[in-house]
Amino acid sequence: MLLESIAFLLGTTLMYATPLIYTSLGGTISENSGVVNIGLEGIMFMGAFIGAAIGYYTHSGWIGFLAAGVVGGLFGLLHAVACISFTADQVVSGIAINFLGPGFALLLSRLMFDGAAMTLPLPLDEKISRPLNGLFPQNSFFDVILNRYSTVYLAFFLVLVVWFVLYKTKLGLRIRSVGEHPEAAATLGIDVYKIRYMSVIASGVFAGFGGAAVSVAIVSQFRITLISGQGFIALAAMIFGKWKPQGAMWACLLFGFAQAIVVFMPRTGIEVSSQLLSMLPYILTLILLVVFVGKSVAPSADGKIYEKN
């Protein structure tokens, strides 16, 4: 019984943490290059729709997932054009993206799905696959934890990739130098605009993946309330993770765990208001921000406008 509960909690944690990990990796890349992207929420919303809609029409969750990345990247490009080429206030541009993402997603949904603000569900076998299905005896300890959709493993793999790129490659060094001191980076011959464009587009791609990781894996369709704030939570996770991919991953896991407790409690028979329980992840974030983060340690040029002379 205890083992079962632990397995359920860990498995559910992985499930809920996954979309957040994608999106917070996006935030990490963008902000390390010095561009704040609070439009992640809107891009995730769009990604969730594109993933489910394209997945439905192509009969493939994976094509939907990739399409969500592409469209997410386009929204990233929009944010990049505004913030980098036209020196827009990054937060304001992000707010605009948060209007545009859901706006376009719902508009397209109504056009493609007969006026409905949700997509038709993908059949089970067209969703993202579960590669480890059948490896462990059904409902055994490891089966409950590890038998997950491929998007879950991919997310953790990408944490490794982003970490490697940011800290072990020349490109990563450039991204970080552009985020710390763009003027100095420019004198060394680094094309600040190019690096920032790449990073912000990448953040859109990741947020698009994050949205699709909800709509074609955890569930099988897009609904208007599907994302509700997860993009913002991913942003908080990135800050809590001190702008580092591995830190963001741990923060997302913590969120996933809080969410798993919300799902787990009713099964224990302990009477707790589900509404109060639902506050847990958010209250936890506030407490953790107070206890552990203190003064922020953002890249020093994060959110600041840089203009070529």
């Binding site: 609070i38 929009l78 505004a82 036209f86 020196t87 827009a88 206030d89 937060v91 304001v92 541009s93 707010i95 605009a96 993206i97 948060n98 209007f99 545009l100 859901p102 706006g103 376009f104 719902l106 508009l107 109504r110 056009l111 208007i224 309330t225 509700s228 704030g229 913002f232 942003l235 908080a236 800050i239 208001s273 509404q275 109060l276 639902s278 506050m279 958010y282 209250i283 974030t285 506030l286 921000l289 107070v290 983060v293 203190g294 003064k295 922020s296």
Partner: protein, 367 residues
């Protein structure tokens, strides 16, 4: 010759609005709807009758107030994404106090409003305190507080002892707490007779026309006075302008942050109170954010953080929302075009450089 409109914030705002409407038209055209038809349905839906105008004002009222809230915080260098949550606690407070604390009207309305302002104010100052004391970024803390407020609202509203049987909402507030104009009288035989004789007033009385808009204007004037005529406003603006200089000048930054967020929160709380006492008369369980806070951010941006600008921008947004709600039933174009138009306007307002560049090219072409 220098045209003052051309390079001013107002000029950029107006051009952004035009560009937003233009992009909206292009998208409508692209998805197969006639934009001229869509916009004329909207215009007619806003100005076509006194009743429509009254609805437009009702739609505008809460977002003028959340807009003022965001603008006030902006002026003092803080970004209040938490207007949404402060609105929710304000609305919940109004619904509860409006039903459970019976009082004569003359006392009840101010009492409800003050309770909601206090609730919103407390909610806002949590974020101010976390920033001042622990350096927690207010953008993140207010987002978290929004969700906590949403679940707190649902916790109260769905409580068996509070919720109205057969609904997912609180009991309707008492007549004494309503700010709807002549709400009791207009349904009485006297009122009915008057309405028959005066179609103009009948048109207005068919909507829940209420004092909320007047309250919002009063609040805008108050914000203007606080910012420009008081020591508090002076020091808050100084902190927003240059934190270090303000501190050097002897202003207590930490307490400034808290009072700024408290005032901003109070304004959003008032928005919730006005919506409940003037329109919905109840607080209901929320499945998702209603968006008054985020709409307030756009109102503040379009209004250039100026209180009077917020009133005008709120009316514009209210008109777009109400007029826009008619295009779907009338010509079938998706309502979400409104979000796209708003998003585009905000995006252009964020890029004054682009608009200035467009003007320069125009000038060159003219030469």
């Amino acid at each position: 010759m220098k045209n003052p409109l051309k390079n001013s914030a107002l000029g950029i705002t107006l051009i952004s609005i035009l560009l937003g409407l233009f992009v909206g038209a292009l998208i409508l055209l692209f998805i197969g709807y006639n934009p001229i038809e869509a916009y004329s349905v909207m215009l007619n839906g806003i100005f076509g009758s006194v009743r429509y105008l009254s609805w437009t004002i009702i739609y505008a009222t809460p977002i003028i107030l959340t807009g003022l809230s965001v603008a006030f915080a902006f002026k003092t260098g803080l970004f209040n994404i938490g207007a949404e949550g402060q609105y929710i606690v304000g609305a919940l407070t109004a619904a509860l106090v409006g039903y459970y604390v019976p009082m004569p009207t003359l006392l009840h309305i101010p009492f409800v409003l003050i309770c909601s302002i206090t609730a919103g104010s407390l909610w806002g100052s949590i974020a101010g305190y976390l920033k001042a004391r622990f350096g927690v970024n207010e953008v993140i803390s207010t987002i978290m507080l929004n969700w906590i407020a949403l679940y707190l609202n649902n916790f109260f509203v769905l409580n068996e002892k509070i919720k109205r049987p057969g609904s997912e909402a609180t009991n309707k507030i008492l007549d004494s707490a309503k700010i709807i104009f002549f709400d009791v009288w207009k349904k009485s035989p006297d009122g009915q007779a008057f309405r028959k004789a005066h179609p103009f007033f009948n048109d207005i009385f068919r909507t829940p026309a209420n004092a909320g808009f007047l309250i919002a204007i009063l609040a805008a004037v108050l914000v203007l006075l606080i910012l420009n005529k008081t020591t508090l406003g002076y020091s808050l603006k100084a902190v927003g302008f240059n934190k270090d200089a303000a501190e050097f000048g002897g202003i207590n930054i930490k307490s400034s942050m808290i009072s700024s967020m408290a005032i901003a929160g109070g304004l959003s709380g008032l928005a919730g109170a006005v919506q409940v006492t003037g329109f919905t008369r109840e607080a209901s369980a929320l499945a998702a954010m209603e968006g008054y806070g985020f709409e307030g951010i756009s109102v503040a941006l379009i209004g250039a953080n100026n209180p009077i600008g917020c009133v005008l921008a709120g009316l514009f947004y209210g008109a777009l929302k109400y007029g826009g709600s008619k295009i779907q039933p009338r010509i079938g174009a998706p309502y979400e075009i409104i979000s796209i138009i708003m998003g585009t306007i905000v995006l252009f307002i964020a890029m004054p450089k682009l608009i200035r560049m467009m003007k320069i090219t125009k000038k060159k072409e003219a030469e």
